[in-house]
């Protein structure tokens, strides 16, 4: 039984952060052992938003279960749906039309930018700067409008289906995305002036929350958290899916390992995402947006695994099929869970005032951790 309040026999102080704390961005509960102001140990307690999505998926068909995964990491809903669609396609051995692949990858990258925008605003708010939040949401709104127009929803789109995408892109899609790219290139300089170059922000970030490459690997960290520690782990480069093989982009790696390195990785990743969209947006091939699939999907008996790079790291979808219309077992490997487990290593020995900043750079989405 964990002690969740009071003092330890050694005289250390135990406090709770969360589950209803604005800086934890959701119902995350941290039990922190403190010696003065220094953190000795952090224990995350999970389960406050557990909806048993994996069990729920077992009773849904291969078309139906995809919509549920939007509710895991709701900031990269498209990418979650993409992973599920790819995994089902692997089992069905369906060839996805090139047009659908282009649309999917562009939607993924737009989602990634939107997700990082929100993270950027929220992080700045965590460390005490309020205005960047509004600037970030202003640009994010442009992406949301694009999503609303093409997918019909702003956050939980359910746009990817096995075999392609649900509907063709809106006639104005290309024009709007080009407008966004031009706008974004202007605004990213503003972001850097406002936050990246700010001396107070840098002092809050530099040398804080250090995570070594060894620890990043042993805790299974992925995405920007691991790449900031110098671990090359971008799934888009290592195990390319859809048209990621054909596009040119740089795998952003920093070696600092501290909060500032994680910040820089995400900022630079946004630029790479814009670069990817730029290559695809004007060359969308003609053709179908969806491959012809049967009305009732049945996966052959076996096990299927697919990984994708979400805005937070590597998402794995593992389906065990018994040959029926519903999966026998589904397992999601979520990036947030592994990234959170490394928080103890990062914050140990640091001051409690730095904890919020460290947690902000982890970019935690709690429904993704709990599922």
């Amino acid at each position: 039984m964990h002690e969740v309040a009071g003092t330890t026999p050694e005289g250390d102080f135990i406090i709770n952060v969360g589950p209803q704390h604005p800086a934890t961005h959701g119902v995350l509960h941290l039990v922190i052992t403190l010696e003065g102001e220094t953190i000795k140990k952090i224990e995350p307690h999970l389960g406050y938003i557990h909806r048993s999505i994996e069990k729920m998926c077992e009773s849904l068909t291969y078309r139906q279960f995809i919509y549920v995964t939007s509710r895991m990491d709701y900031l990269s809903a498209h990418i979650n749906n993409h992973a599920c669609a790819l995994c089902v396609e692997k089992g069905l051995q369906v060839e996805v039309p090139l047009r659908a692949q282009y649309i999917r990858v562009m939607m993924d990258e737009l989602t990634r930018i939107a997700s990082h925008e929100l993270w950027w605003g929220a992080l700045a708010m965590d460390v005490g700067a309020f205005t960047p939040f509004f600037y970030a949401f202003r640009e994010r709104e442009t992406i949301n409008e694009i999503m609303e127009e093409t997918c019909g929803a702003r956050l939980t789109m359910n746009y990817m289906v096995p075999g392609g995408v649900m509907a063709d892109i809106h006639p104005q899609f290309q024009q709007k995305v080009n407008f966004f790219i031009a706008l974004y290139k202007k605004k990213i300089e503003e972001y850097n002036e406002l936050v990246t170059g700010n001396i107070i922000f840098q002092n809050r970030m530099k040398g804080v929350g250090f995570l070594s490459a060894e620890n990043a690997i042993s805790y299974g960290c992925s995405g920007p958290v691991a790449r900031a520690s110098g671990v090359a782990c971008d799934v888009r480069k290592r195990y390319p899916y859809d048209v990621y093989e054909q596009v040119q982009f740089e795998e952003v790696i920093e070696t600092g390992g501290d909060s500032f390195a994680r910040y820089l990785v995400r900022i630079r990743e946004m630029e790479q995402s814009v670069h990817i969209i730029e290559q695809l947006i004007d060359n969308i091939p003609e053709g179908d947006f969806q491959a012809k699939t049967k009305a009732v999907l049945k996966l052959p008996k076996g096990e299927f695994y697919q990984r994708v790079e979400t805005a937070r790291g590597e998402l794995g979808v593992y389906i065990v099929s018994e040959g029926g219309t519903t999966p026998y077992r589904i397992k999601f490997r979520s990036p947030g869970f592994s990234n959170l487990s490394a928080l103890n290593e990062m914050a140990k020995g640091g001051k409690i005032g730095d904890l919020v900043a460290t947690m902000g750079t982890l970019d935690l989405v709690i429904p993704d951790i709990d599922r």
Binding site: T156, L194, V195, I200
Partner: protein, 158 residues
């Protein structure tokens, strides 16, 4: 830390702060760049995307006819049990029994707007509508019957 380093740090700090203040000041002087929508005051001019998924509706033409054959494809496609179709047997002029729609029950309170029912419909009888203001005081009001009273199947739709 040397004196020179100290002065450099102070200079850098003031410079970075001023840079940030320039950005903030720019928006203070350019209120036209503010994009906040004054909902609900702008209801009259509010424009939603045509594909926006607000609720499921059934299309009726001017003769109060719809295209729903009562095949229950949407009911099977729905992941949440949002749709319940009650069918009846009509007698055709040839004296045969034919399955037809009696009541299309739509539970808006369970719907996640995933669009799978619209995709599944073979006759295009249901579509997504843009209405998004669904708040009511009693949740019973969210259980809707989509086919209008007295409506019947359009001729020629199988």
């Amino acid at each position: 830390m040397s004196i020179q380093q100290y002065i450099q740090d102070v200079y850098g700090a003031i410079k970075s702060l001023l840079k940030g203040m320039c950005v903030t000041g720019y928006y203070f002087l350019h209120p036209k760049e503010i994009i906040t929508e004054q909902y609900p005051d702008n209801r009259a001019t509010l424009k939603l995307a045509e594909r926006f998924k607000g609720e499921v509706v059934m299309l009726h033409d001017e003769n109060n006819e719809h295209a729903c054959t009562g095949c229950t494809a949407c009911e099977l496609a729905c992941p949440n049990g949002t749709i319940k179709i009650i069918t009846q047997f009509d007698i055709t002029p040839e004296g045969k029994k034919k399955k037809a729609l009696n009541t299309f029950v739509y539970h808006l309170e369970l719907c996640t707007m995933c669009n799978l029912c619209v995709e599944a419909c073979p006759t295009g009888a249901i579509v997504m509508a843009q209405n998004f203001e669904h708040s009511v005081y009693d949740r019973k009001q969210l259980i809707k019957t989509l086919n209008k009273p007295g409506s019947k199947l359009r001729a020629g739709v199988e």
